[in-house]
C-alpha cells in the first residue's frame, strides 16, 4: 500500500512523485478542461430560469404551442440539460479512468525507488 511507503532520501513521498509526474498533470488538465466549463455553463443555464421568470415574466409567458409557454419549456429543458452534461461527463470519465489506472500501476511498480518524471 502506498500509505506505508516512507519518504525517500530527498524527503519525497510517493504522493509528491505522482503529483509531479507528467501523466498526473495531464490528467488534472483534462479534468479541468471538462469540469470548469461544464460547471459554469450549468450554473448560468440554471440561474437564467429564476432570473427570466422573475424579471422578464412577459417574455416567459409567450405561448409557443397551444397553452404551453416559454417558461414551461425552459424549465423542462433544464432536466435535459442536466442529463446531457451528466452523459458527456460519463464519457469523459472513461478517459480519466484509463489514465488513473496507469498512474496507479506506475506508482505501485516504481514503489520506493525512482519517480517517473
Amino acid at each position: 500500500m502506498p500509505d506505508a511507503i516512507e519518504p525517500d532520501r530527498n524527503g519525497q513521498t510517493v504522493w509528491d512523485r505522482v503529483a509531479a509526474s507528467r501523466q498526473f498533470r495531464d490528467l488534472m488538465a483534462m479534468k479541468k478542461t471538462f469540469i470548469i466549463p461544464a460547471f459554469i455553463f450549468f450554473l448560468a443555464y440554471y440561474f437564467m430560469l429564476p432570473i427570466l421568470v422573475g424579471y422578464a415574466p412577459g417574455f416567459m409567458s409567450i405561448k409557443v404551442w397551444g397553452n404551453v409557454n416559454i417558461a414551461y419549456l425552459f424549465a423542462l429543458s433544464q432536466f435535459f440539460m442536466a442529463w446531457i452534461i451528466a452523459g458527456l461527463y460519463v464519457r469523459a470519465g472513461d478517459r480519466f479512468d484509463a489514465i488513473s489506472k496507469d498512474i496507479i500501476e506506475n506508482a505501485l511498480k516504481t514503489g520506493n525507488s525512482e519517480g517517473d518524471k
Binding site: 460547471f39 450554473l43 432570473i51 422573475g54 397551444g66 397553452n67 424549465a75 451528466a86 461527463y89 506508482a107
Partner: protein
C-alpha cells in the same frame, strides 16, 4: 382494518425482513457503515434517489403545483440540477479519499481533531434539523392518511421513529440501502402509474391537458376565479420572490453536495467510477420523477380541483386525492403507503449518517484520538447513538406537535450544508494553501450565518394574528429583518469568506505538505478504501 393500514403493514413486514437479513451481514465497521462497499452502481443510484426524495418532494411539490401552478414546477427543477455539483465536484474525490464520513476528506491534510469536531457538529445539526422536519411531517401525514383507524400524531411519530431506529441499529447501511431502493422503486412506479392515469383522463392528448391547465377554476375568498396555471408568478411574487428563488437555487446547488446523508452513500460502492455511474442513475430517476410532477400537480389542479383538496386535508393531500379520483380507494391506499415508505427511507438515511459521524468522527477520532480501544467499539457506539439520535428526534417532534411550522428546517438543513460543509470540502480538495483554521472558521461561520439568518427571516419572524396559537406561531413576533426565507444567497458567500480569511490569517505548513497526498488520492483513487472481498 383500513386498506392503507394493510399496505403500511405489508411494507413494514418486508423492510423488517430485509433488516433481519442485513443484520447477519453487518459485522465489522466497513460492513456496518458502508455495506462492505459492495453496492452496485444502479443500486446505489436508486438508493440515492430514495434517500433524497422526501415526502416534501412527493406530496409537497405535487401540492405546490396544484395550488400555485408553474412556480411549483420551477421550484422542482433545482432539486435535479443540484446533482451536477455532486457529479462533477464531490462524488469521486469523496469516494477516493474518504472512509465513512465527509470529515475523512478534511482530516487528511488538516489537524484531525478540531476539523472532525466541527464537521461532526455540522453533520449532526443538518441531520437533526432535517429529521425533525421529516418526523413532524410524517406524524401529521400518517395521522391524516390513516384517518379513522384511530392512530394519533404521537403514535405515528413514535412508530416512524422506532422503525428507523430498528433499520439502522440492526441492519446498518445495508438495510438502509435496501429500504431506500424499495422506496424509490415504489415511488417511481406509483408516480408513473398516476401520470398515465392523468393522461388517460385527457385521452392522451397533451394539447387537451395543457389547455385544461390554462383554465383552472377555484374559489378565492368566496369568489370564483379562473387562472392559467402555466403562468409564472403565483408563488414567487415581487419584490423578494425571484430573489428568494435564486437564494433557494444556490442552497440546493451547493447544499445537495454537502448533505451528509447523501455523501455517505458514495462510500457504499467499490470505487469512484461506480460512484460516478451511480450519480447518473440517481439523476435519471430524480429527473424523471420531477418531470412527472407536472402530471401529479397539474392533474390534481385540473381533475380534483383546489377547492376540494383544500377541504379534504390541504395541499399535501393533492397526490393521494388525485389517485382516489382516478382509480378509487385501493390506489389511494397504495399512494398513501408510498408516502409512508418515502418518509421512512429518508429518516433512516439521516439516522445512519448522523450516528456514523458521531461514532467515527467524534467518538473514535476526537475523543479517543483515532484509536478504537476495543475491536468493534466504533460500530457499537454508532448503534447506541442511532438510538439516541432517534429518541431525540421523536421527543422534539412530539413536543412540537402536528401544527408546528417546520418547513424552515429543511431550508435550514440545505443552507448549513451549502454554507458550512460544501465550502470546506471544496477548498480542502482544490486549494493547496487551505488549512485547519480556515476549515474551522468556514464551518463555524457557515453554520452560524445560516442559523442566524433563518432566525430573523420571515419563517421565524413575523406578526401573527391572535387566532394563531401554540407552536404554529412565529417564534419572534416582529417584522422580519432578513426578507428571504432562504439564506443561501448571503450565508454561502459568508461561509466561503470565513474559510478563506481563516486560512489567510494563519500559518500551517503541514497542511500544504500533505496537499499532494489528498490531490493524488482524490483524483486517481490511489490508496482508496477497497471493497470487502467475496460475493
Amino acid at each position: 382494518m383500513s386498506a392503507p393500514l394493510v399496505m403500511f403493514l405489508v411494507f413494514i413486514g418486508i423492510t423488517l425482513a430485509i433488516t433481519y437479513w442485513a443484520s447477519k451481514r453487518s459485522a465489522g465497521a466497513s460492513a456496518y457503515f458502508a455495506a462492505g462497499r459492495q453496492i452496485k452502481s444502479w443500486q446505489n443510484g436508486v438508493a440515492v434517489a430514495g434517500d433524497y426524495m422526501s415526502a416534501a418532494s412527493f406530496l409537497g411539490i405535487a401540492g405546490i403545483i396544484a395550488f400555485q401552478g408553474y412556480d411549483g414546477f420551477m421550484f422542482s427543477v433545482g432539486w435535479l440540477v443540484a446533482y451536477l455539483t455532486v457529479l462533477l465536484v464531490i462524488a469521486e474525490p469523496l469516494r477516493n479519499a474518504g472512509k465513512y464520513t465527509m470529515a475523512d476528506v478534511l482530516a487528511y491534510r488538516l489537524k484531525p481533531r478540531p476539523v472532525r469536531a466541527m464537521a461532526s457538529l455540522s453533520t449532526l445539526t443538518v441531520s437533526t434539523f432535517y429529521m425533525v422536519a421529516q418526523m413532524v411531517g410524517a406524524g401529521a401525514l400518517v395521522a391524516l392518511l390513516l384517518k379513522g383507524s384511530g392512530i394519533s400524531y404521537t403514535t405515528a411519530v413514535i412508530g416512524v421513529g422506532v422503525l428507523m431506529i430498528v433499520y439502522v441499529v440492526f441492519g446498518g447501511m445495508l438495510a438502509t440501502t435496501w429500504v431506500q431502493i424499495i422506496k424509490a422503486i415504489l415511488l417511481m412506479a406509483g408516480t408513473l402509474l398516476l401520470s398515465i392515469l392523468v393522461m388517460s383522463h385527457f385521452h392522451f392528448s397533451f394539447h387537451a391537458f395543457f389547455n385544461a391547465i390554462g383554465h383552472v377554476t377555484y374559489h378565492d375568498k368566496g369568489q370564483p376565479v379562473v387562472k392559467d396555471f402555466l403562468q409564472p408568478g403565483l408563488r414567487y411574487k415581487p419584490p423578494y420572490g425571484p430573489l428568494d428563488l435564486i437564494s433557494l437555487g444556490l442552497a440546493l446547488i451547493f447544499g445537495t453536495a454537502g448533505l451528509p446523508h447523501i455523501l455517505v452513500r458514495f462510500y457504499t460502492v467499490p470505487d469512484a467510477r461506480t460512484a460516478r455511474h451511480s450519480v447518473v442513475w440517481a439523476m435519471a430517476l430524480i429527473g424523471g420523477f420531477y418531470i412527472m410532477t407536472t402530471f401529479l400537480g397539474f392533474g390534481a389542479a385540473t381533475i380534483v380541483g383546489r377547492d376540494f383538496i383544500a377541504t379534504h386535508g390541504g395541499n399535501n393531500m393533492s397526490a393521494p386525492l388525485l389517485a382516489q379520483a382516478l382509480a378509487g380507494d385501493i390506489f389511494f391506499s397504495f399512494i398513501c403507503a408510498i408516502a409512508f415508505a418515502t418518509i421512512l427511507a429518508v429518516v433512516a438515511g439521516l439516522t445512519i449518517s448522523a450516528s456514523t459521524s458521531f461514532a467515527h468522527d467524534f467518538w473514535t477520532n476526537v475523543i479517543h484520538r483515532g484509536v478504537e480501544r476495543k475491536p468493534g467499539e466504533e460500530v457499537r457506539v454508532a448503534r447506541v447513538s442511532a438510538f439516541v439520535v432517534g429518541a431525540i428526534a421523536i421527543t422534539i417532534a412530539i413536543l412540537l406537535g402536528p401544527t408546528a411550522n417546520v418547513a424552515f428546517l429543511v431550508a435550514l438543513a440545505f443552507a448549513v450544508a451549502a454554507s458550512a460543509n460544501l465550502p470546506v470540502i471544496v477548498l480542502s480538495i482544490f486549494w493547496r494553501r487551505f488549512n485547519t483554521t480556515g476549515a474551522v472558521a468556514g464551518l463555524a461561520v457557515g453554520l452560524l450565518a445560516s442559523i442566524g439568518l433563518i432566525l430573523v427571516s420571515p419563517s421565524l419572524m413575523a406578526v401573527d394574528p391572535p387566532t394563531v396559537t401554540g407552536t404554529a406561531r412565529h417564534l419572534i413576533q416582529a417584522r422580519a429583518w432578513f426578507p428571504l426565507e432562504n439564506p443561501g444567497i448571503l450565508s454561502i458567500p459568508l461561509g466561503f469568506l470565513g474559510a478563506i480569511l481563516g486560512t489567510l490569517l494563519s500559518h500551517e505548513p503541514t497542511s500544504q505538505h500533505k496537499f499532494n497526498e489528498l490531490l493524488v488520492r482524490s483524483n486517481t483513487g490511489l490508496g482508496a478504501e477497497k471493497a470487502a472481498a467475496g460475493h
